[in-house]
């Protein structure tokens, strides 16, 4: 995009690719996620110069380098704080935060809770592979109990988190689960997530074939089913029935409600503060420090 002087009439998925070769292992689920994101962006015709893709640290957090928009590969756990700053400062930008399960639910867990609670106007795509891949195979908060990893050689003693359950419970207003092995459905979910007004959380099962086994896709594919057509997205209790699943993997939009977003609320704050009066200058602010009588 860098040589463009005029906006092209239509962006194709390939227009969003960079010339960087992904560092991911052959067969990694993240390739599918990246391809879906290129497709979703093309479908929405996102202008690359008005789009920012932000991540933390981890295998999947390398993704911004492979999308030809403004991109920010930040530090571990802090994708959402960075995204908060970008979106609140520049509401007109499309802001997409991406990362892995360790980045989002371990080191960045606190930010996840509060971004959801605030209904931050950001779409957050998590590539959940149930493992720390970049550091070569340690337990993540999503690693199933009893599973052996390099830091749980005797089996994981801890219960795991279901990210969608967590997101619903802390106030996300759009929560969905996708599967990297089902690109058509995944791209469609991304389109919805980007369009949602408020915090949209899409947990993408994106298998790690290196540290979770090269049979991951084979195991998962038969479990995948889509959420029933008659599921009431606004029913929190109903949404929660599709979490903590073991025998099946339900994909689709689990939960969606309409609530004022953070930016909506900040605009209200400004209206209340100004009460219809003109904006004060900084000189006006300074003059309030004169004795009030």
């Amino acid at each position: 995009m860098s040589a463009l002087t005029e906006a092209p009439t239509a962006f194709k998925p390939a227009d969003y690719k960079t010339d960087l070769k992904p560092v991911w292992c052959p067969g990694c689920g993240d390739f599918g996620v990246l391809a879906c994101l290129h497709r979703a962006m093309a479908e929405l015709q996102l202008e690359p110069w008005n789009t920012v893709v932000i991540s933390g640290i981890g295998c999947s957090s390398r993704l911004p380098g492979y999308v030809d928009t403004y991109g920010f590969n930040g530090i571990h756990g802090r994708a959402l704080p960075l995204a908060t700053g970008v979106k609140v400062a520049r509401p007109e930008l499309n802001v997409i935060a991406v990362g892995g399960d360790g980045d989002g639910f371990a080191i960045g867990g606190n930010h996840f809770m509060h971004a959801a609670r605030r209904n931050l106007d950001v779409c957050y795509l998590v590539m959940d592979n149930e493992i720390y891949g970049l550091t070569k195979g340690q337990a993540a908060p999503t690693t199933p109990t009893q599973d052996k990893t390099k830091t749980t050689p005797w089996g994981n003693p801890e219960p795991s988190v279901d990210p969608c359950e967590l997101a619903i419970s802390v106030g996300a207003t759009w929560v969905a689960r996708g599967f990297s092995g089902d690109p058509k459905a995944l791209a469609a979910l991304m389109v919805q997530a980007i369009q949602h007004r408020g915090f949209a959380f899409l947990n993408i099962i994106s298998p790690c074939v290196t540290w979770r086994g090269d049979d991951q896709f084979k195991i998962l594919k038969p479990k995948v089913r889509t959420v029933p057509a008659d599921h009431d997205h606004t029913d929190r209790a109903a949404a929660l029935t599709y979490t903590r699943e073991t025998e099946v993997l339900t994909t689709g939009v689990l939960y969606e409600i309409a609530q004022p977003s953070l930016l909506d609320r900040l605009r209200t704050v400004e209206e209340i503060a100004l009460k219809g009066r003109p904006r004060p200058t900084v000189k006006d602010v300074i003059s309030t420090f004169y004795p009030a009588f």
């Binding site: 995009m1 860098s2 040589a3 463009l4 002087t5 906006a7 960079t18 960087l20 690359p48 110069w49 008005n50 789009t51 920012v52 932000i54 911004p64 380098g65 030809d68 928009t69 403004y70 991109g71 920010f72 590969n73 930040g74 530090i75 756990g77 802090r78 959402l80 704080p81 960075l82 995204a83 908060t84 700053g85 970008v86 979106k87 609140v88 400062a89 520049r90 007109e92 930008l93 606190n110 930010h111 809770m113 509060h114 900040l266 704050v269 400004e270 503060a273 100004l274 904006r279 004060p280 200058t281 900084v282 602010v285 300074i286 003059s287 420090f289 004169y290 004795p291 009030a292 009588f293």
Partner: protein, 595 residues
Amino acid sequence: MVGAGGDGVVTMGDMLAQAGAREGLNVIKTEAYGPQIRGGESSCVVRLSADPVNAQGDRVDILVVFSWADFARFRGEVLPAPDALVLYEESDPTPREATGVVVGEEAVWVPLPFNRLAKATSAGKNIVTLGILSELFALPAAALRSAIQHKLGKKKTGVLEANLNGFAAGAELAGTLDPALAGRRLSYEKGEPKLLMSGNEACAVGALHAGCRFFAGYPITPSTEVLQFLADWMPKVGGRVIQTEDELSAIGAVVGASYAGVKSATSTSGPGLSLMSETLGLASMAEIPAVVINVQRGGPSTGLPTKSEQSDLWQALWGTHGDAPRVVIAPTDVEDCFHATVDAFNISEEYQLPVLVLSDQSIGQRRETIIASALEHEVIERRLPADLAGTPYARFAETPDGVSPMAVPGMVGGEYQTNGLEHDEQGRPASSHLTHERMSEKRYRKLRPIRDRYHRVRRYGPERARLGIVCWGSSKGPVKEAVLRANEHGESVAAFVPLMMYPFPKHQLQAFLKSVDEVLIVELSYSAQFAKYLRTFMDLPQEKTSIYKRSGGKNLTVEEIEGQILASTSAERVAGDLAEAISAAPLGAAIEGRV
């Protein structure tokens, strides 16, 4: 003024300070509270002068005590002068003798019926007292009455009248006292009204002046007023404030907003700065402007959250991983807080690196008078790419001063990838040691022009002096006052105060060191962080350099510095064993040693 919760001691101090500011006097006002969240004992010290004031003043000339039991809790902080005039409640159930409080032998004792007069007039005890003070010391009565009117005018009928009566009754009572007491009347010529502002407010106003339109913060004493002030005003001037879940998020949001092209800042204190240090490394690496206002308190850990100390210096200079260039500016008073913050934005925006404003509790929370015309400061904007058409944009392009024009989202053709990974000129991850060396050099190169352009220092005293004091930050107040007083008495002493802590104005310090025979480094840090920092780049000869340092918790006093100036004239001066000196020394006593 010292009293219990509900006595209105702080309100009384506010009115006194505001009345002084309205008359164009110079005012410094400090407050202190007991540990209770609400209510409890409180004290308020107001220094009023027709001449400029540099520090809060060591000792009070006039002490108002509503309760000796409450006063006893502040005995280390509110020190009466030996000849202080002590106005105290005559019916105090706990007399002074029972509290063990000792006041100087030449003190003048004036028992007064504060309680009885307040009851008789249905006025506040504080208002009655203001009446007494105004009559005794010729304080601006009309301004004080206006202050009362403003404060109580909207209360239900009768309240304002009762208090104005109480004020008059106080003045009337004062008129019946020994006329000799009036020997301390304030004489001044009325001037233009002044602003009355705290250092934290001055930082916040400086941020607005510099064009800051995004602020993210997490409450932490003693910096919270910056966040609170901006939460109030930022939406009105078209900016946004987020109270984040922690300091990690605050600095993250600041870096995000700044990356997106909006001037951004956060404020915190020591423990919060520790949490921010990782992201400050990111800002250095990705060359993103970010301003952090750090208001120091006693540490480490929770430490002394409401008391001042100069012990975040090392953390501010070096507190992150890797080789991470940044800038540290230390204001020395309330007015400096404004200018240091605008400088911080100017440098941060122009040179694309994090800048810390290193304030402290003592200047952050005290209120001081300022002339409005002093709050002018040039504002500098970020260097954006001039033309993005044609050649591919290289975010980290090589330039003579190391500053690469920075595209911001929304600019067509400026799309680039940024990251905390080492990267090449295009921003692509690069782990070659050669690239790392080259890019480190580029990032550090930016410091040179900053040092050349922003060598802000203060110097007091004669051109050549026997003794030269070097201090920084809020220590300037007592040091300046002590030096000026010593000069009046013919002492050959000068002082050097850098405002720029990093990159340090070395050449200016070198010139100062050449102009003095002996050097005394003064700071409020147990481990002498400043003295040790100076030694990392400056040869300070052992035989002519001394340190005067101690922990915070109590601000440095003019008397302490004067004692050091006097001691330095003695050939007998011995470098004591520091540990021994500290264990033997009462709070505020001299602790000294050789560098």
